[in-house]
């Protein structure tokens, strides 16, 4: 049989280089076991609804009405939908040109982008321009679009935190760029030290790399740390000095579990700094409907806001967005609802607030339970999850375990995670998938949606006995 026209050897090398551990080896093994009938708990990805979190009622009511506008003509519609959901559905339909089934503006519906701009303005206290807010099929697509605009070749480097959400490393590989890592300080609660970043930049430049952009994930993924205002100021000054675009992944801005460091957007801090920085530093900020207390991952809704990006660059970004025609319209409506939720006095307000608060309170409780739980295990150290949705404990594996891993041809944390999976059905992602400092320690990343107390103690049991 002659070689196939596309065989493994002739695939684009950049594709081969891509690694995305979130749905890699562990996930595939877990899926296999699930098919064999084993009960699996998937904690590998921030996918709240898959683990029992219920969707908020109001947005689902609104979108259902938008999907089936004939309902709005039915005299009985008021029996099963509250009046404010009906009104809101009519409002969003009026913003479309032909309902949910028509391609919108390639940047997203102007009316919804206006709602997003108003949200940003309320949040930050500075005006926001809907013209430079682009809605995307999930924040990930937005990240890919922006990185694709920046990266010309392997000579272009992007600063990425380690550990990081592997969308960044995967996309940089795919686009043929260079990942320039900067290390977060585990002993300082995953803090970001600008000196580390400066070091990384110098090292990259000495290798002939032009560092173009810096990614921050705030709150962090997988690390959960919330950046302080002082930290953000340092970062912005750094980007100004080094002529870098700041890419601020802020998708977890609604997930904050401590009160010392509330979320502050990079945009707000930038504007607070005033001229010249506020007029010069280039910034792209990303948000989504997939996280927070909404958790609407399956809708694929997100946006990015550009600050100080030159008009001609914006035109090029628009052009590439137009090739995909438009982001999906139902998700745009979810975004509109997220930035413009029911207000006090609205019929659905009480239920909406009750549902939202319950989710956030529960997440905060679980952040504590998981952190304390991990810290009570032998040879496990875990920073507190200040935000986002993940625990990233460090496991000190004994030499025998590391030996056994080597014999099995596996990286130690992959080995540990596979054993954990086989024994308990809990599917996690090994720390090597996110990047971590070289050394004896290995970490696993563990999304803490699941966890009933029974399952928790099972996991603790295992952690205790594996050494």
């Amino acid at each position: 049989m002659s070689p196939k026209p596309l065989d493994y050897e002739s695939i684009n090398e950049n594709v081969k280089k891509v690694a995305y551990a979130v749905r890699g080896e562990l996930y595939l093994r877990a899926s296999e076991l699930q098919k064999e009938g084993k009960k699996i708990i998937f904690t590998n990805v921030g996918n709240p609804h898959a683990l029992g979190q219920k969707p908020l009622t109001f947005p689902r009511q609104v979108v259902a009405l938008c999907q089936a506008p004939f309902l709005l003509d039915d005299p009985n519609v008021g029996l099963i939908f509250p009046a404010d959901a009906i009104a809101r559905a009519k409002h969003y339909l009026s913003l479309t040109s032909g309902g949910l089934g028509a391609y919108s503006d390639s940047r997203g519906l102007p009316g919804i982008r206006k709602e997003v701009a108003e949200f940003i303005e309320r949040r930050d206290g500075y005006p926001s321009d809907p013209e430079i807010i682009y809605l995307t099929d999930g924040a990930s697509k937005g990240v890919m679009q922006i990185l694709n605009t920046i990266i010309r070749g392997e000579g272009d480097g992007i600063l990425v935190p380690v550990p990081q959400y592997p969308l960044y490393s995967a996309t940089i590989s795919l686009l043929g760029g260079s990942l320039v890592p900067y290390y977060l300080e585990e002993t300082a609660n995953w803090g970001l030290d600008v000196n580390n970043v400066r070091q990384s930049v110098l090292q990259a430049r000495s290798r002939g790399i032009t560092v173009r952009a810096m990614v921050i994930i705030n709150p962090g993924n997988p690390t959960g740390q919330c950046l302080s205002e002082a930290n953000l100021k340092e970062i912005l000054h750094f980007c100004f000095q080094e002529n870098l675009v700041l890419l601020a992944d802020e998708v977890y801005q609604q997930n904050i579990y401590q009160d010392e460091r509330p979320f502050i957007s990079a945009k707000k801090v930038l504007m607070d700094l005033g001229a010249p920085l506020s007029r010069e530093v280039q910034l792209v900020s990303f948000h989504t409907v997939s996280k927070g207390y909404w958790g609407e991952c399956g809708q694929r809704g997100g946006y990015f806001e550009m600050t100080n990006i030159p008009p001609k660059t914006v035109d090029e970004i628009y052009k590439v967005a137009s090739v995909s025609l438009s982001p999906n319209v139902p998700a745009q409506i979810f975004l509109g609802l997220m930035v413009n939720p029911p207000k006090p006095g609205d019929i659905s307000y009480l239920k909406f607030v009750t549902e939202s608060k319950a989710i956030l309170d529960s997440l905060r409780r679980r952040a504590h339970i998981m952190t304390d739980g991990f810290n009570s295990c032998r040879n496990v150290v875990c920073n507190f999850t200040e935000g986002a949705m993940y625990s990233f404990p460090q496991i000190r594996l004994p030499p025998r375990a590391i030996e056994a891993a080597k014999n099995a041809g596996k990286v130690p944390d992959v080995f540990y995670c596979l054993k954990l999976l086989e024994a308990t059905g809990i599917s996690t992602v090994p720390g090597s998938g996110f990047g971590q400092k070289e050394g004896n320690h290995r970490a696993i990343w563990f999304s803490f949606f699941t966890v009933t107390s029974f399952e928790m103690s099972l996991m603790l049991l295992l952690s205790g006995s594996s050494t």
Partner: protein, 528 residues
């Protein structure tokens, strides 16, 4: 206010970018390089640069997409002028005939599909007794069935990166019922529209500017844009306008040899069937030749079949390339084939939902792993679109409660499209110097305009391609938006434009009369 961007005007690329790109420029489009003017503020900047037009990825600069290009910018400006001053133009509305976006022009969605979607979006409805009165019984049943296939009945959760298994099963069954040959749900990748699937394949196939993809000219510019974005070479093959936009194997062979002689490794052949913008439906014999050609030359066949439900002529039928290959006795070992389908077209026209899939057959396991890996970085496509794809491939059947109303909606739309295709085709053929091939399928007409020399000279003076010149004048006079043929590619020296057949039937007479009046005036002004 829309920022203007420069596609369609000839500008000079910044010299260094131009040098690196000159080996890749497709010769058969006169679409201009999309470079920016040099931003004066960067002239004095240091060598590490922020993100300006000079420092962007050159592949982004090179990429063009005329469907939402300059003509649309112009139209939106006129639309705003109409809003602020309704009498400012000789027309009272803009008619967007540039894009296959049926529901934006009044086409109604299929009721059954929307019923199922609403129930899946808000499953709490299924617990209410009033729901029985508001939704058809089989829609309720189908929603339950779909929800049962979704882990935890959670439509807000990321699914499997290829799409929900149960929905892929339904799609595979639909493909098998359509073709008479089995389909494997594991071969199916659900995507946010068909376009992301095309991008994925280009990403895999294109290693450098030496990798070429054979594309029809004229083509839907997703292909040229995607090839440019991934840094490959577009290898054109010309469809024969005089033969109803027929595809000749001799032309494929000629272009393949030509490319090879230039050191290009041709990796794949794109076929759009039914064609866009050309509308031709391939004859079975033709399709068999194409399959043989790909097999012999070791090319991946990329079959864009998004218009498979849009066939308007009795003497042609849609046959999938999968069916043709299998009926020739060719299986997984013989032909590498990727078939694209979408929920945006057909009679369902659900563009805004972004749903579609690619069926990937004839690749080794390790290649499929790579495809899966790329799909997984984006986690999954939107669930609503996935559900719609399964409904499109598995619609109500004879005996189902909704079958009759479904059929009547479907046939109503398809017959109307066929009528509009014919009316507009005749209208174009009645214009002086204009010939227009029949739209056998898809949603477009692609008339050829023969412009007088004076018009061509005026276009040159305005630094615009002649068909763009015509299209802008048409827009200014009538409010009708069409896309210049330059955006799709055409035999050099010929000019066309693409017009959709989508305005509602009651608007068609006005479209025809305004267009005719404009054309007469234009020819009178520029006649030799």
């Amino acid at each position: 206010m829309m920022r203007r961007f420069v596609a369609g005007r000839a500008r000079n690329l910044i010299a260094s970018l131009q040098r690196s790109l000159s080996s890749q420029s497709p010769r058969n489009f006169s679409s201009a390089a999309a470079a920016a003017d040099i931003d004066p503020s960067i002239m004095s900047s240091s060598s590490t640069t922020p993100v300006t037009a000079e420092t962007l990825n050159p592949k982004v600069l090179k990429c063009q997409y005329a469907v939402r290009g300059e003509i649309v910018t112009h139209a939106q400006r006129l639309q705003q002028e109409l809003q602020s001053k309704p009498s400012s133009h000789p027309f009272n509305e803009i008619l967007y005939c540039n894009i296959g976006n049926p529901q934006s022009l009044g086409q109604q969605p299929i009721t059954f599909f929307r019923e199922v979607l609403a129930l899946c979006d808000h499953p709490a409805l299924l617990n209410k007794s009033e729901t029985q009165g508001l939704f058809s019984a089989d829609a309720i049943q189908r929603a339950q069935q779909i929800l049962d296939q979704i882990p935890g009945r959670a439509t807000g959760a990321y699914s499997h990166s290829q799409g929900i298994k149960g929905l892929r099963d339904a799609i595979a069954a639909g493909i098998a019922a359509r073709d008479g040959f089995p389909a494997d749900p594991n071969d199916i990748f659900l995507t946010d529209g068909a376009s992301p699937g095309v991008h994925m394949m280009m990403q895999l196939l294109i290693r450098s500017e030496k990798d070429g993809i054979l594309c029809p000219i004229p083509q839907y510019p997703l292909y040229s844009a995607s090839i440019a974005l991934h840094g490959g070479a577009l290898v054109p093959y010309y469809l024969d306008e005089a033969a109803g936009w027929g595809l000749e194997i001799s032309e494929l062979k000629k272009q393949l040899l030509d490319a090879k002689s230039k050191g290009i490794v041709v990796r794949a052949l794109v076929v759009i069937n039914p064609g866009n913008p050309t509308g031709q439906v391939l004859a079975e014999g033709n399709q068999r030749e194409i399959v043989e050609f790909c097999k012999k030359e070791g090319l991946v066949l990329l079959a864009d079949e998004v218009y498979q439900e849009n066939v308007y002529v009795a003497d042609k039928k849609f046959h999938s390339f999968k069916k043709i290959s299998r009926s020739m006795g060719y299986g997984e070992a013989d032909i590498s084939l990727v078939s694209f389908q979408s929920i945006s077209k057909g009679f369902y026209g659900e563009c805004g939902k972004r749903g579609g899939y690619m069926e990937v057959t004839g690749f080794s396991a390790d290649v499929r792993e790579q495809i899966y890996k790329v799909a997984s970085v984006n986690l999954c496509s939107n669930i609503s679109g996935q559900i719609l794809a399964s409904l499109v491939m598995n619609p109500p059947k004879v005996g189902d409660k909704s079958f009759e109303s479904f059929s009547s909606e479907k046939n109503g739309i398809l017959l109307s499209l066929a009528r509009r295709a014919k009316i507009l085709e005749d209208a174009f053929n009645n214009l002086e110097g204009v010939t227009c091939n029949k739209a056998e399928g898809a949603m477009y007409l692609f008339p050829r305009i023969r412009l007088p020399r004076k018009a061509i000279e005026a276009a040159e003076a305005a630094k615009t391609a002649p068909d763009a010149f015509y299209a802008h004048h048409l827009l200014d006079a009538t409010g009708i938006v069409v896309v210049p043929g330059t955006g799709f590619g055409q035999v050099p020296g010929t000019w066309h434009f693409r017009c959709t057949i989508l305005p509602q039937e009651d608007k068609i007479p006005a479209v025809v009369s305004r267009l005719t009046a404009f054309h007469q005036a234009f020819m009178a002004e520029f006649r030799d």
